[in-house]
């Protein structure tokens, strides 16, 4: 599916409406002829009106999905988080996974931990001990947690980006598939047709990655992947016998699509809200405590044993 195809969704919907109406009118005329065994009576105006009415709602069925968010709009946030991850990657001991692999350690950060026993080894006193233990010693661990959190956020944006990409492709697939089936009427083929609804399964992979990253960060996530996989309905072949049948299949597909989209939006939202809640509950794992000497107001104490101490 190209983006230009999606931008023509409502135009395709109008084509479907016109084509389904015309094919149904032809079918009605043929039925009248069959019943009369020859040139049957023309289809009455009331019948024609009923047929037109039957398909009048088609554009309205597609309208709610005609202005879905543009997946490209997520790219800036994803790129920004990628830059943040490159900057704060401390290169810890955790196993890289789908969201965090491929990042090299930034030595400006990973080198901080060793500074306590290196360049600052001569710095003694309470402040030095506190600084080395509470700040330097934990800096790269917290950076690592922030790094993973950025990975989770990036995964969330990628999940939404993928969700809208798939949503656009799926609703466009339903529209063009319906038109294909209508176009195929009149040929000698049977014309059964299949449109795949792929959104939920593709999102499941990304959410599973968030889940695994979250788990490494004790951000316990819902069992997203299995729930989504179970929720993905099959997309069986639709009969292409008559216009009425084709449009009935289209209506079912749009309903299924809408349910999948709502389910996926809820799942992504729940996943990120759960992660957000976990971060709130464990804020100390991400946030560096304020150095105690920040509160020392008088210079003498600040440079004394309780403050910066002696080099």
């Amino acid at each position: 599916m190209t983006d230009s195809t999606y931008s023509q969704l409502m135009s395709t919907a109008s084509q479907i409406q016109a084509k389904a109406t015309q094919v149904s009118l032809d079918e009605a005329q043929r039925n009248a002829e069959m019943a009369a065994r020859d040139d049957g009576p023309p289809v009455s105006d009331a019948q024609k009106q009923a047929i037109r009415q039957e398909y009048a709602d088609i554009p309205g069925l597609f309208q709610p999905y005609a202005n879905l968010p543009d997946p490209q709009d997520y790219q800036y946030g994803i790129t920004t988080l990628d830059q943040i991850m490159k900057t704060i990657c401390a290169g810890g001991t955790r196993q890289p996974d789908q969201l965090t692999m491929g990042y090299s350690a930034n030595f400006a950060i990973s080198g901080l931990g060793s500074a306590a026993s290196g360049r600052l080894s001569g710095w003694k006193g309470n402040a030095a001990t506190n600084f080395k233990t509470n700040f330097l010693g934990q800096f790269s661990l917290r950076a690592e947690n922030l790094f993973v959190l950025a990975g989770v956020l990036k995964g969330g944006l990628q999940a939404e980006q993928s969700m809208w990409t798939q949503a656009r492709a799926n609703i466009t697939g339903i529209a063009t598939g319906t038109l294909d089936a209508l176009d195929n009427i009149g040929t000698c083929g049977q014309g059964n047709w299949t449109v795949g609804l792929t959104m939920a399964s593709s999102i499941a992979q990304i959410l599973a990655a968030i889940e695994s990253d979250g788990a490494s960060l004790f951000l316990t996530a819902v069992g997203a992947a299995t729930q989504i996989a179970a929720a993905v309905p099959g997309t069986p072949s639709q009969p292409g016998g008559t216009a009425e049948q084709i449009i009935s299949g289209m209506r079912q597909l749009i309903t299924q699509f809408g349910q999948q989209l709502t389910g996926t939006i809820n799942l992504v939202t729940n996943q990120l809200q759960t992660s957000s809640g976990q971060v709130q509950q464990n804020l100390a794992s991400f946030d560096m405590p304020r150095p105690a000497m920040d509160d020392i107001k008088d210079d003498k104490t600040l440079t004394g044993a309780l403050g910066l101490g002696h080099p």
């Binding site: 063009t176 014309g191 292409g240």
Partner: protein, 161 residues
């Protein structure tokens, strides 16, 4: 506007020549069939020879159409594999098309077993132009009958569910 399956099917053109006879046939826009005879050959043809030539043209047109039709289905939602019930039902369909004067009759059982009947004396009594018109009427009648019967079969299978 993106090209639809309908556009692709409308664009299919098949042009064939009957083996051993100076007749060509062309299929355009799904169901417009025209035939043309080499200049000066009409006077030398006989009915049985024409019957074989026209039936051969029908088979070649059908084969050419199916080949391009299948190619046109690529990347569409249409399933390339058909149900055995549909295939079996289609194989039993009997289709007929006649010229207005009844001199030319095209029949088929299934969709590719064509027979053509040209009434004796036709070539003597019809000019080449009249003959071509009569063939045109018969092919139109044949295609309309076939479309109606395929549609009936689809509807019957659809109602069966």
């Amino acid at each position: 506007m993106t090209e639809t399956l309908g556009d692709r099917l409308d664009a299919i053109q098949v042009r064939v020549r009957a083996p051993g006879a100076a007749i060509e046939a062309e299929l355009r826009h799904r169901r417009q069939i025209s035939i043309s005879l080499d200049e000066g050959c009409y006077a030398f043809l006989r009915e049985p020879q024409l019957e074989r030539a026209l039936a051969g043209l029908a088979r070649l047109l059908y084969t050419g159409w199916v080949r391009q039709y299948r190619a046109a289905l690529t990347d569409t939602a249409i399933d390339p594999v058909e149900d055995p019930d549909f295939v079996a039902g289609r194989a039993k369909i009997e289709t007929t098309g006649r010229s207005a004067d009844g001199r030319i009759t095209i029949t088929a059982v299934g969709i590719d077993d064509f027979q053509v009947r040209v009434a004796p004396g036709t070539l003597r009594e019809l000019s080449e132009r009249q003959f071509v018109t009569a063939v045109h009427q018969a092919t139109n009648g044949f295609l309309a009958d076939q479309a109606a019967k395929i549609s009936e079969l689809r509807m019957a299978l659809a109602q069966r569910g």
